[in-house]
Point group: C2
Chain length 211, copies 2
């Protein structure tokens, strides 16, 4: 299980931005998913350095590797918002499929359901997978190199257990646990989830920026 | 097996475009794949109404449905070329996976190889699939509604047979045939291929436009 900060920090921002950050870093989290927003608020909302708002935008998503997909989405969001934007991209990478379905997992879930996500591994004994959340933060509409914050949780794909109402949570069992994400209460899931780890990395970065 | 023309025709083009078309319709086929270009030239090159050139551009590809993916790519290509652009997007849709891997087939091929494309169906007796080529033609950089030409060939996914050097040709056996695409000579494949059908639909449209 890993959490990592990627992306290069930029040169010092212009004075006006520095003043704004000294008060609180205003961040628009682009999501139309209430559960994702709740998870983000549970972590970032407690931070005095981040003032979190949200917007639902219809953002096209590129094909490609997780970091590239998230960065492109952040650039697009910042252009539409004409300001800083935080976006999220989630992927589920099966070891036996060399990282796939990866960022395309939402399409497999939509078209083939939870059983379909399990069946993708029917030919393989190796059921290991990595749940990955990439947060990309574009500081403004001209930010060509959004910062990325990656949270990863290793686990395995299992037959669906627990409520079926949030993504692929019911078929993912984190390493060393006996429950799927879906069988955990919110606090237990947050303690080990890929999204928590990415949000925590972002929170730590924001706190550090303020210092 | 089907071939279909989709997309709305636009209002009559301005006079200057009409004159150019009367001589020959100059089309830039955006591809960096020599084999795809050969296939296009074999069909379109014989047409007196189309003057085919090619360009290799690095075009980002969106996630989504095949027609939307191709249209977005055509718009981007026409903007980069500042002129008409023809692009191609190929997908391989498994019936048992409700259309997937679809436009993502190239990623599965890249990450899991031909065996991986077969193994995706390990849990299913139904091995049927549709090979689909979508050509999208943007008439210029401001064309928001590129025309699309779809060629489809039904078949099934089989263990790899024939040369392995062109995409997923060795694991796709068209309906009613005993060979995979890879086992056919070029003329035989062209007579039944999804790409041929899409190119033929485009050629017919171009010929009609000239009348």
């Amino acid at each position: 299980m890993r959490a990592a900060l990627c992306g290069r920090a930029r040169a010092r921002p212009p004075r006006r931005e520095s003043r704004a950050r000294a008060a609180a870093m205003r961040v628009t989290f682009v999501t139309g998913n209430a559960r994702k927003l709740d998870e983000a608020r549970a972590i970032l909302g407690a931070s005095a350095t981040i003032e979190l708002t949200s917007r639902a935008l219809d953002l096209p998503e590129l094909q490609g590797e997780p970091l590239d997909v998230a960065r492109a989405k952040a650039r697009r969001a910042a252009a539409l918002l004409n300001g800083p934007a935080l976006v999220e991209d989630t992927s589920l990478s099966y070891d036996a499929l060399n990282g796939l379905p990866g960022v395309y997992v939402k399409w497999f879930l939509e078209k083939t359901g939870h059983a379909g996500l399990v069946d993708l591994l029917a030919a393989h004994d190796d059921k290991r997978a990595v749940a990955r959340c990439v947060l990309a933060y574009a500081r403004g509409p001209s930010d060509e190199e959004p910062l990325t914050f990656v949270g990863e949780t290793a686990g395995r794909i299992v037959d669906a257990r627990g409520p079926r109402d949030f993504g692929w949570d019911c078929v993912f069992e984190p390493e060393g646990r006996a429950e799927t994400y879906a069988e955990m209460d919110a606090a237990t899931k947050n303690a080990c989830s890929h999204r928590y780890r990415a949000l925590e990395a972002f929170r730590a970065h924001a706190a550090n920026e303020r210092m």
